[in-house]
């Protein structure tokens, strides 16, 4: 295998007394589609939030594309905490799709997608607009460009959220439970878009989800998180049909029971 694009090396994360990640080791290969499943509070979102630089770390090293994310190499080779400049540089690799969409409610759909490319990447308005229109086409919302987020359904909002993240051309796209805030009948349209993206070979995807069938379908690998550690990981077939660990089996039994015939 080549160098991983994401590497967590003994990463520790605490909130006060609560240790959420306890020396987590975790790797993702370039172009790999990885699903993260696990019980509530096991640290799934925290992993994504650390990658998106929304949350710092208390120990260990996170590497993205060979460069430390939360550290910078000093001239003498030692690591020191990252500056905002370094974080900004690193962030260009990553994009995130939020559970609650987090669209900018005061901007039209089009501006939600063009604002960052224009202001941050320095694209011309015309270029940004062109790119946005392509992306809206991709997520099936070409006719909604002039609406405000408040005028869209949850499923539409999330598809705009995906288009907005993609507009920054990230190498790595992070999804934090992208469908769990949606009414059941709207889940499918969002999953279809994510499925389309999964067919792109270059894009590395990290997906926290409760949609087991979907995870099984699109992932190269599934990781079962439990109490800030990867309890078990493997191909979807291995993990879903024949888990080694009792904890995994219990968890799967519980979620599959609770949501029979998960939408996919």
């Amino acid at each position: 295998m080549t160098d991983p694009i994401i590497k967590f090396d003994k990463v520790v994360k605490r909130f006060g007394d609560l240790t959420v990640l306890n020396k987590l080791d975790f790797e993702v290969q370039r172009g790999e589609k990885v699903s993260i499943i696990g019980p509530s509070g096991s640290g799934k979102s925290t992993v994504l939030r650390i990658l998106m630089t929304l949350e710092g770390i208390d120990g260990g090293v996170v590497t993205v594309d060979g460069e430390p994310l939360w550290h910078e190499k000093a001239p003498d080779g030692t690591l020191k905490p990252a500056s905002e400049t370094h974080l900004r540089k690193m962030r260009t690799q990553l994009g995130m799709v939020f559970q609650q969409f987090n669209l900018f409610p005061h901007m039209t759909v089009l501006r939600n997608i063009t604002e960052a490319p224009v202001k941050v990447l320095g694209l011309s308005k015309k270029e940004a607009r062109q790119r946005a229109e392509e992306l809206l086409e991709l997520v099936g919302l070409a006719d909604q460009a002039q609406k405000y987020p408040g005028q869209l359904s949850g499923g539409q909002k999330q598809r705009v959220g995906i288009a907005r993240a993609l507009a920054m051309r990230p190498n790595i796209l992070l999804f934090d439970e992208p469908t769990s805030a949606l009414d059941p009948e709207l889940v499918g349209e969002v999953l279809n878009v994510i499925r389309k993206l999964a067919d792109e070979h270059d894009l590395t995807m990290l997906l926290v989800t409760h949609e087991m069938r979907f995870a099984k379908e699109i992932s190269d690998r599934v990781c079962f998180f439990d109490r800030g550690r990867i309890r078990e990981e493997g191909t979807p077939e291995e993990l879903f049909t024949d888990p080694n660990e009792d904890r995994t089996r219990e968890f799967l039994a519980a979620v599959l029971d609770e949501a029979p015939g998960t939408t996919g």
Binding site: M107, V120, G150
Partner: protein
């Protein structure tokens, strides 16, 4: 002097009152944004200046501020060897604007802080700088939040302009006082004066509501 003859001078005064209100409200809004944002700054010097301004002008009385600017400032200037005598209009606009700006600052600060943390996270994920986040994400969303309080402050400011009559500026109240001195017709003149302020306040309130609807268009959309 028949009471219908009061209209001429009162209208002249009302025009001065309108101008005072407009200028001092604009000055107040600028100061409110500057110091409300300044109070949230991570730069301690900016923060200290903002907090000091807000506390001093909220902690003292408007009339004291007006008198200080009009009567005391020139003397302070004299001690420093500079001419700080202000014409009444300047003193009036400055005092009103400084005063209302300090109250507005708290409104601005509160509205900015009320913008949900999710919005900041989305902005960070899209790699906006903190300044870009403030100006393109936070403030545009905070403005509709400020509008109801700004409406109240604008009416407050309109009422406060009456105080400038005490430094002999020819506003609505000043003209009414002149007429009363001349005619002793207190009941009529003060009733007219009250109604005039009431009418102006209603118009101002309607204007502020219109402005509020305008800056909150996106909120009305859909939901």
């Amino acid at each position: 002097m028949h009471w219908t003859e009061y209209f001429g001078p009162l209208a002249e005064g009302a025009w001065v009152t309108v101008q005072l209100t407009v200028y001092s409200t604009i000055l107040g809004a600028i100061l409110a944004f500057a110091s409300g944002i300044g109070k949230l700054s991570s730069n301690w010097a900016i923060k200290a200046v903002s907090v000091a301004y807000i506390e001093v002008f909220r902690g003292t009385s408007l009339l004291v501020q007006l008198f200080w600017l009009y009567f005391a400032l020139p003397l302070a200037g004299m001690a420093l060897g500079i001419d700080l005598r202000l014409p009444p209009v300047m003193a009036g606009v400055l005092a009103l604007g400084l005063n209302i700006g300090a109250y507005g600052a708290e409104v601005v600060r509160g509205a900015i802080q009320s913008v949900h943390k999710d919005q900041h996270e989305a902005a960070r994920a899209l790699n906006f700088t903190s300044r870009q986040t403030l100006w393109t994400i936070t403030i545009p969303q905070a403005i509709p939040e400020m509008m109801p309080s700004f409406g109240n402050l604008a009416v407050q400011n309109l009422k406060d302009t009456a105080l400038v009559s005490l430094i002999s500026l020819g506003d609505l109240t000043f003209r009414a006082e002149q007429i009363r001195n001349f005619t002793q017709d207190s009941t009529t003149i003060y009733s007219m004066l009250l109604v005039a302020y009431f009418g102006m306040a209603l118009v101002l309130t309607a204007l502020m509501r219109g402005l509020e609807a305008y800056v909150s268009r996106w909120r009305m959309a859909g939901s």
